[in-house]
């Protein structure tokens, strides 16, 4: 099987139960899924869990994939919802203020060098934003999506995304200035 076979073809075959096609597809997309998971979670451990969870969900759902969107968009959506679920679930259990939560996450992550290096102030502040603002920022700047794509994923209008971004920028700038 050619390694450069387009996602759509692989997905079609995977949906029919082709194991090798699915394996290739999963292999190809794992890194992006992991990156997304890390953006939202900010710790390697959580990111790895979310990424794995996403891959498993993908495996279960691939046979029902109907090509109503591009495969990568579809997978993105699974990853995004999985990450959000993860954060929500964590929050439901222990009600910390967002800033505290971010601090705890960051502290947890401090143990391994990559997380420590990567989780600088900006990341922490972005993760401490209200959910919608955080999602808008991470989707647009982290995942490099258009406002329209982000809106589709977040289930709101494009305008709302722009507004969230605007608000987020205001907040971030404000807090960045306050920081020593």
């Amino acid at each position: 099987m050619p390694l450069d076979e387009p996602d759509a073809d692989l997905a079609t075959r995977a949906a029919r139960g082709d194991r090798a096609a699915f394996a290739l597809l999963a292999e190809r997309h794992y890194d992006r899924v992991h990156a997304l998971a890390w953006r939202w979670c900010g710790s390697r451990a959580a990111a790895e869990d979310v990424a794995q969870e996403t891959m498993v969900k993908l495996a279960r759902a691939i046979r029902d994939f109907r090509f109503e969107s591009a495969f990568s968009t579809w997978l993105h959506r699974i990853a995004y919802t999985t990450a959000i679920d993860h954060l929500r679930a964590a929050r439901k259990l222990v009600q910390f203020a967002p800033a505290q939560e971010a601090a705890l996450e960051a502290e947890a992550a401090g143990a391994n060098p990559e997380d420590a290096v990567m989780n600088d102030d900006l990341w922490r502040r972005v993760r401490a934003l209200p959910d919608q603002q955080r999602d808008a920022v991470l989707l647009v700047y982290g995942e490099d999506m258009s406002h329209a794509e982000a809106a589709a994923l977040m289930g709101c209008t494009e305008k709302t995304v722009s507004w969230h971004l605007h608000e987020a920028r205001k907040r971030l700038r404000l807090s960045l200035e306050v920081a020593p």
């Binding site: 451990a45 891959m55 993860h86 705890l104």
Partner: protein, 669 residues
């Protein structure tokens, strides 16, 4: 945009390979599991943006379960925060109250199977007991009550690092979700995080050991070590060299290189004195001033009629990673060959483990060979690894058919990462040790590359009175299982220890080549409680010391204020060799001893081919390991030495060795 600070949100740390592999394995397992379920109900799951969740007839209309399902991310997430990136650490749980024996991934009646990563690292020990006792329950077990969760409450690996996270985990565990989770066993990663990080190219795990240093006889006259007949290191190195790559230094154990080859040493006469040592002193080919003291110990070979009955349980890893030809298919062939070697009265049982564990074949007499071969043929790879459950099942089976007169042995075949559901590695080792006391031994047949966990396999085999062999080709499998079947299966002695006391008047310095992982303390030699290596029928063990004769050019300077002038007894002896062993069914050790004397002829060319060849093997291992004592001696010298000492070599092992030495010259590091 380049100046926008938010642009840096695009960068993230790269995923770790182990985590990546784990996730992909989990995905493949889920993909396989969904196969049958998916066929039944093709219409579903396009109602995004909700995350796609599998739906099937069973799933529909069970709100409790659905909510449990929804909790999965949280559960997986927080429990999995504990997980260290072992290539396959999954928790598989089914709400189907199936027996742990039959609970496998491949769709049993459409029970939906969840996969999450999880693994408590430091679970309390009562957790272990619970798992163990639970496993011994025969037949279908009831669904565990909510409180009896297999999630140990205090545990996460990041507990120390993050109080906050720990609290999250605790909270999750309290939730009723745990009830759903309870049935299946937790799989366990065994490697340590740093180890995993440190290894970039291949994830095979080897424990680093410092090469034995030169010791001064005046300061430390006694050298003690445990016999070792493992050969895994050599086969592993061969595999890498054949791929044009030098093996990692830590993967090279000189004693396993030396002991890999069959040598024709003088044989002992009876099983009552099962060992015969032969000691040769020759000049070191890499340093003419030094001597090599070559100690060859030949074990007694049981005749077929003396062989006890064998009660074997094959424990076979059938997880997804075992799929390649050099893994499960190879293991299956190897087991077929082994079955061919056994006697009609011997029994074989087969336990498999992947996501779950199952008995593929109840212990069956070899007389019914057809049934055994059919069971071996039907083994197929798929799913993730839950080794601990498998090992518990294997012990259960072996114990159920325990025969005091027989050799009761489990043969574990795996490509390495053995997920230790029985809490941590030490617990597992402890368990294997206890089982060994009860008479069930464990041997390892390692296959595959990439995630071969050498250190763990070696330890498991050591604790289980067994051999760890790494099998890369069918030919190797034949060597281990057919040619050496009786030595692999039938022990002639256990706790074999060797101690050499050097005479400072004759030997200024010495160093033992290899056996770093087999080092024993001087006082352990006479302590029968201290475990050591075991030897099977016909096994032989070779140890080589390099010594600097007194008065020679020494590597370490003398102490100015050290003792001088005393001439001890046995003046002309280089040293004194002692070997302790226990007969298989005895608890008290026996002793064999003899003095080491140098003959007048130390010309290496006059040594036997066996001696010369083993020296070549020792030199080769040292070169691969980068040990500093060989001076300018190189691969060409090894090749020349081995070429001239090939002897009979009926199976071509020595010729292959020469070939590997040639490959090593051009292999990339």
């Amino acid at each position: 945009m380049t100046t926008d600070p938010l642009a840096k949100l695009a960068a993230t740390p790269p995923p770790r390979e182990a985590a990546r592999r784990a996730a992909l394995d989990a995905a493949m397992a889920a993909f396989d599991a969904a196969e049958t379920v998916g066929e039944k109900n093709p219409a579903a799951t396009q109602d995004l943006p909700a995350p796609p969740r599998p739906r099937n007839a069973i799933n529909e209309g069970r709100p409790l379960m659905r909510s449990a399902f929804h909790m999965n991310p949280a559960l997986a997430a927080s429990l999995a925060a504990l997980m260290i990136g072992a290539p396959a650490g999954y928790m598989i749980y089914s709400r189907h109250p199936a027996s742990p024996m039959t609970n496998t991934l491949t769709a049993d009646g459409g029970a939906d199977v969840l996969i999450g990563r999880a693994a408590p690292q430091n679970a309390p020990s009562d957790f272990v007991k619970k798992v163990e006792t639970d496993t011994l329950l025969p037949g279908p077990a009831p669904v565990a009550p909510p409180a009896q969760s297999y999630m140990p409450a205090p545990m996460p690996r990041r507990e120390l690092q993050a109080a906050g996270k720990a609290r999250t985990v605790g909270a999750v565990v309290q939730r009723p979700v745990a009830e759903v989770v309870s049935r299946e066993r937790l799989a366990h990663p065994v490697l340590d995080e740093d180890q995993a990080l440190a290894r970039k190219e291949h994830r095979d795990k080897f424990e680093a050991h410092v090469t034995n240093p030169v010791r001064q006889t005046a300061q430390e006259p006694v050298s003690t070590f445990s016999a070792d007949v493992d050969t895994a290191s050599y086969s592993f190195a061969r595999r890498m060299l054949n791929a044009g790559q030098l093996p990692p230094k830590d993967a090279v154990r000189a004693e396993e290189f030396i002991n890999y080859f069959p040598y024709d040493y003088p044989k002992p006469d009876s099983a009552d004195a099962p060992f015969r040592p032969t000691i040769t002193v020759t000049a070191a080919p890499w340093n003419p001033d030094n001597r090599l003291v070559h100690i060859a110990v030949q074990g007694y070979a049981l005749q077929a009629a003396q062989r006890p009955r064998a009660n074997l349980v094959f424990l076979v890893d059938v997880s997804g990673s075992m799929m390649p030809d050099d893994r499960l298919p190879l293991v299956k062939n190897a087991l077929r060959m082994l079955v061919g070697e056994l006697k009609p009265d011997d029994t074989v049982g087969i336990v498999t483990y992947a996501s779950g564990s199952g008995v593929a074949l109840e212990p069956t007499k070899i007389a019914d060979k057809g049934a055994i071969l059919a069971a071996i043929d039907s083994l197929g790879a798929g799913g993730s690894t839950a080794g601990a459950q498998g090992i518990l099942d294997a012990y259960r089976l072996a114990e159920a058919h325990f025969d005091k007169q027989a050799v009761n042995r489990i043969i574990l075949s795996t490509d390495g990462d053995f997920n230790v559901g029985v809490t941590d590695q030490r617990e597992l080792l402890g368990m294997i040790e206890r089982k060994r006391e009860s008479g069930v031994y464990l041997s390892i047949l390692g296959v595959g590359q990439d995630n071969y966990n050498d250190a763990l396999m070696q330890k498991l085999a050591q604790n289980g009175n067994g051999v760890a062999a790494y099998v890369d080709t069918l030919n190797e499998a034949r060597k281990v299982l057919v040619e050496e079947a009786s030595s692999t299966l039938f022990p002639i002695a256990k706790d074999v220890k060797i101690q050499v006391e050097w005479n400072p008047a004759q030997v200024a310095e010495y160093r033992l080549i290899g056996y770093e992982t087999r080092d024993l303390r001087r006082e352990d030699f006479n302590n029968d409680k201290v475990d050591a290596g075991d030897m099977g029928s016909g096994h032989r063990v070779t140890a080589i010391y390099e010594i600097t004769p007194a008065g020679g050019r020494k590597l370490v300077d003398d102490l100015r204020y050290g003792k001088k002038g005393e001439t001890p007894a046995g003046g002309d002896e280089l040293g004194f060799f002692k070997l302790r062993y226990k007969l298989p069914h005895e608890q008290k050790s026996r002793l064999i001893s003899q003095p080491i004397r140098a003959g007048s002829d130390v010309d290496p060319a006059h040594a036997s081919t066996e001696t010369r060849f083993s020296i070549a093997a020792a030199a080769f291992a040292q070169l691969l390991k980068g040990a500093p004592y060989l001076g300018s001696y190189g691969y060409d010298d090894v090749i020349a030495l081995a070429q001239g000492a090939k002897g009979d070599d009926p199976f071509g092992y020595r010729a292959e060795f020469v070939n590997l030495a040639r490959l090593a010259k051009s292999a990339r590091p």
